[in-house]
């Protein structure tokens, strides 16, 4: 069951997606000021939340990895960083598309835009260090992941601490029930997709570690056999 769980999540997401999209486009009223472009909100916001959640998971897992030298924590941190990268890119691309439609400008240098872009760059740096750096750079990678996690509350508070054009955190809380009824399925579909992909990626990374160990043992056995022959 544990092995099948990520695929079950993806199948559930695939079942919810048509309903979520149909709700957003057919049943949700058009917002008076922003018009049709407001429908970007229903997938942009969940992507933003999941990007921040993945950055938090990555930071915590990296700290655990640093402390306990756990291979599982290392795999969770890397997989979460990859999904944080994908969700962050989604947010940073759909945000300016929405901004272009409603503010007339894709990028305004808004505090929330900048802090989100900073998080995405930190995640990108973490991925570069983990994928291409030597294993001795694990501490640097973990420090980057923890820095990314610290940026998450800054992103959340950015609209309160600084004067910004970006909608505040109260907007979601004050949504009328008709809009919540469309946001929940969209959030559910994206969350199930992200957690399904996270599960698959974690398993892949653990398998890759096991294979590396297998190859190392295999070459040790081969070396021992050669010594015996000599």
């Amino acid at each position: 069951m544990k092995r099948a769980l990520p695929y079950v999540l993806l199948v559930a997401a695939a079942a919810i997606y048509p309903y979520a999209v149909a709700r957003v486009f057919l049943d949700t009223p058009i917002e008076r000021q922003m018009g049709t472009a407001f429908k970007i909100f229903f997938f942009h916001v969940p992507m933003g939340w999941l990007c921040m959640l993945m950055a938090l998971i990555c930071g915590v897992a990296a700290a655990v990895e640093l402390r306990r030298r756990s291979q599982t924590a290392a795999a969770v941190a890397l997989a979460a960083a990859e999904l944080g990268f994908v969700c962050g890119l989604g947010v940073l691309l759909t945000g300016p598309i929405w901004g272009n439609a409603t503010w007339g400008k894709p990028w305004t240098g808004d505090a929330r835009q900048v802090s989100t872009a900073l998080l995405w760059l930190v995640i990108a740096a973490y991925l570069v260090v983990r994928h291409y750096g030597p294993s001795s750079n694990r501490r640097l990678a973990a420090a980057l992941a923890i820095f990314g996690a610290i940026d998450v509350p800054v992103i959340y508070q950015a609209v309160k601490w600084w004067k910004t054009q970006h909608p505040t955190t109260e907007v979601v809380g004050s949504l009328p029930p008709a809009l919540w009824a469309s946001l929940w399925p969209a959030l559910g579909a994206i969350a199930l997709t992200v957690f399904g992909l996270l599960g698959i990626r974690i398993r892949q990374l653990l398998l890759a570690d096991a294979l590396d160990e297998g190859w190392a043992r295999q070459s040790d056995l081969a070396a021992a056999k050669e010594v015996r022959h000599e």
């Binding site: 058009i30 922003m34 018009g35 049709t36 472009a37 429908k39 970007i40 997938f43 942009h44 992507m47 990859e82 999904l83 994908v86 890119l89 989604g90 691309l93 759909t94 598309i97 929405w98 272009n100 439609a101 997709t193 992909l197 698959i200 990626r201 892949q204 398998l207 890759a208 294979l211 297998g214 190859w215 295999q218 056995l221 081969a222 056999k225």
Partner: protein, 92 residues
């Protein structure tokens, strides 16, 4: 000619309304022109499908790209596992 007169303020106790106030003191031609612009803007905002298509296209393309990345990685891991199994069988 077009003397701008502010619309009359609603009487105390009257329900607040954000609907169009009567345009007093404007030339009918100017009012008509403004209404044409407003109607055009309203149409543009209400049928802004270009931004929607781009935004949703980007989101699903990203997930599809990551899905393909995982699928290729899986295929590579499976090939690596088969190679290791063959190498171990050959040693046995």
């Amino acid at each position: 000619m077009n003397e701008l007169t502010p619309p009359p303020t609603p009487a105390a106790g009257a329900p607040a309304s954000d609907e169009y106030a009567p345009a007093i003191g404007f030339a009918a031609k100017d009012v008509e022109q403004v209404r044409i612009y407003e109607a055009k803007a309203e149409q543009k905002v209400a049928r802004d499908y270009q931004h929607i298509v781009w935004a949703y296209g980007v989101l699903w393309a990203l997930f599809a790209a990551y899905g393909i990345f995982l699928w290729r990685r899986s295929a590579r891991l499976r090939a690596d596992m088969d190679a290791l199994r063959r190498a171990l069988d050959a040693r046995a």
